[in-house]
Amino acid sequence: MTAKRKRWRLVVGEIGLWILSLFIIVPYLLVVLTSVKSSKEAGLFRLSWPSEFLAIENFRILFERGYFLQGFTNSLVVTFGSAVIILLCSALLSFYIARVNTWASRLLYRLFMFGMVAPISLVTTFNLLKSFHLLNTRLGIIMVFAGILIPFAMFIYVGFIRTIPREMDEAATIDGCGPYRMFALIIFPLMKPITFTAAILVFMNVWNDSQIPLFFLNDNQYWTLPLNIYRFFGYFRTDWNYIFGNILLTTLPVFLLYLVGQRYMIEGMTSGAVKG
């Protein structure tokens, strides 16, 4: 009886959540509908059915004039590069900060916290990249992203590593693991749910950022996807249909990544591992 009532409650909750999700889905409709409208109609920003469907034409223009594939490659290289560097560096860093309790470690924590608060200084960073000959390279902006986002990832990691019991470290040490193997084989796998979360957040931050690529990449050929919308702000004429189409295409890859990656957040994995 109670089990039945519980299931019934879940179904009600499920329906409620789907209804609530309309708040999220309706704005998407605006994007999707606008992206298949004509330029003139799109400029009026109305959530209305398009008077003529221009799906194929509009998206063909996105690929041609919007350089979608070029932008996609750039985005992929930059995002993947930064995500890997940021996650590796901050996972190691956070493990140390969470476990070692000395004044130096606490100072490090504060130092990195400062990075979450302080904004990037564009002019001095520009000169720095210039002197390293990293201006106008993708490696350059990867490093800039790393500098900004390592604190962010660290902050997320530290809180969670502290929930991993220290006995895990001890057990591994007793088993004869050195610190590096302990981290790679025991700790890092335990951090899977939060690594996935952090990875998604870092990925999104980099994928969607339009300011840093804009400032530190001169050539339009290195432009990442979000910047492509700027190609359609014309001379007193803005093609909102292409802009929204570009938004759609820019968002899709991250959305798919999230869908696929969710599988790695297998529930109860952490507690299971601890028990085992």
């Binding site: 993947f80 590069g81 002019v123 210039k130 390279t137 050539d219």
Partner: protein, 444 residues
């Protein structure tokens, strides 16, 4: 456990691959991958490559065509760096200060650029041979206050006044109003017929549409001073006269508020955008709209049958005056790596032949005396104002501490009723002081 080690391996492998890809591709710089939108990279004989920084908004079809002409006739390459206008000022400044500036760049308005951008960035073009060919009016529009020529317009220069729908005026038997009272009477008649008399647009990002009305009315201050006009600006720029001291400015703002209070302005002004304005003006839902001739190109494309006229909004008992703008300018970086080639490009652009091709694609006013520019529907009227001495450069080209963005924001507040004209001028003055002090201007 097995699953986990595989997962780890996969991550490490991916990490390595990614790092390698990044490291290898990051350094390639310009040598590979041409596929850029402007096809920058070119194989074969290496000609001069001129870097040109321009806002997307101003990279028009005719400018694109001109660059193609230039490339094919000289063999030089122009590498176009397109940037969104919201970030353009910032990026240009940062690049210039790090000596990474482009050879050619655009500025929002040639007259405005003398205040908004450090003067030493501009190569002086006053000595180029084409300067002799500028018309008197044209020269007046594009020269700086110190008489220097530093750029050529890539959008047509023009005037800000009131555009009106001639068909509506004819139907209601209205004449072009010569005084403020006549203007109000005409507006009343239009309102009675169910048409919105004056359309303004103040949605965020489209506020420029109302600032035009302000500039146009403010220009009466210079008109009223007659020969003392230059002295007036000198005093203004040394802060001997404050914005709050000029009676015409307050009167101008009072007129704008009067329009709103009498219900002659569209009610949705705060959400009205440039696109919506075109729709309303084009379909005859509104009779008048303060603007310059830049609105004509998109407007006539969508509404080719529209019959448009142009007049200056009256000021008190006078017909008032037009305010001028110089248009977006293309200038040469004084410290550019290819300065000579950039100067040559400007010379090429200034040639009679190229200017005529250029003006043909978007009719309007040319700054050259010998260029046969096709007139647009308002350039004839504009010329009359200029010939009659009733056209003055807008505040942005005269007042060194002016920031047009601040003015636009304050227009929103004023029209929403949050600020009185007095408060508006006080706040504009306070903002001007910040800019003047930051720039270390004399007398502030």
């Amino acid at each position: 456990m097995k699953v986990k080690t595989n997962y780890m391996k996969a991550i490490t492998n991916l990490a390595l691959i990614a790092l390698l890809t990044v490291a290898c591709s990051g350094h390639t710089g310009k040598s590979s991958e041409s596929g850029g939108p402007e096809g920058s990279g070119s194989a074969g004989t290496k000609k001069t490559e001129i870097k040109f920084m321009v806002t997307n908004e101003n990279y028009s079809g005719r400018l694109k065509d001109f660059i193609a002409n230039y490339e094919s006739s000289t063999g030089n390459q122009v590498e176009v760096q397109l940037l969104p206008s919201a970030e353009f000022d910032n990026m240009l400044k940062i690049k210039m200060m790090s000596d990474e500036g482009p050879d050619l760049f655009v500025t929002d308005d040639i007259a405005m650029s003398q205040f908004n951008v450090p003067k030493e960035w501009f190569a002086d073009l006053s000595g180029r041979s084409w300067v002799q060919r500028l018309s008197d009016g044209g020269r007046k529009i594009i020269e700086w206050n110190d008489g220097k020529i530093t750029g050529l317009p890539i959008t047509n220069p023009g005037g800000m006044g009131i555009l009106y729908n001639k068909a509506i005026f004819k139907k209601l038997e209205l004449e072009v109003p010569q005084t403020w009272d006549e203007f109000l009477a005409a507006s009343e008649k239009i309102k009675q017929s169910g048409i919105t008399p004056v359309n303004i647009q103040l949605a965020n990002g489209s506020e420029f549409g109302t600032t035009h009305m302000m500039h146009q009315l403010f220009a009466n201050a210079e008109l009223n001073r007659g020969d003392a006009g230059n002295q007036f600006w000198e005093d203004m720029n040394r802060h001997l006269i404050k914005l709050t001291d000029v009676p015409e400015y307050e009167q101008a703002l009072n007129q704008m508020i009067e329009l709103k209070d009498k219900g002659y302005i569209n009610e949705d002004f705060i959400s009205n955008t440039f696109e919506m304005t075109q729709e309303k003006f084009g379909t005859g839902a509104v009779a008048m709209h303060p603007a310059g001739d830049f609105i004509l190109e998109p407007l006539t494309a969508n509404y080719p049958d529209l019959d448009i006229g142009f007049f200056s909004m009256p000021f008190e008992d006078t017909p008032g005056t037009i305010s001028l703008y110089a248009g977006v300018g293309i200038s040469v970086n004084e410290k550019g790596k290819n300065k000579e080639a950039a100067l040559d490009l400007i010379d090429f652009f200034a040639s009679k032949e190229q200017q005529e091709i250029y003006m043909k694609k978007a009719p309007g006013t040319s700054v050259f005396a010998d260029v046969n520019a096709e007139a647009n529907v308002i350039s004839g009227e504009l010329q009359k104002y200029m010939d009659g001495g009733k056209a003055f450069m807008g505040m942005f080209g005269k007042y060194e501490a002016w920031n047009d963005m601040d003015a636009r924001k304050i227009m929103q507040e004023m029209m929403l009723g949050a600020k009185t004209p007095k408060q508006v001028l006080e706040e504009l003055n306070a903002k001007a002081e910040i800019i003047a002090k930051g720039k270390k201007l004399q007398g502030w």
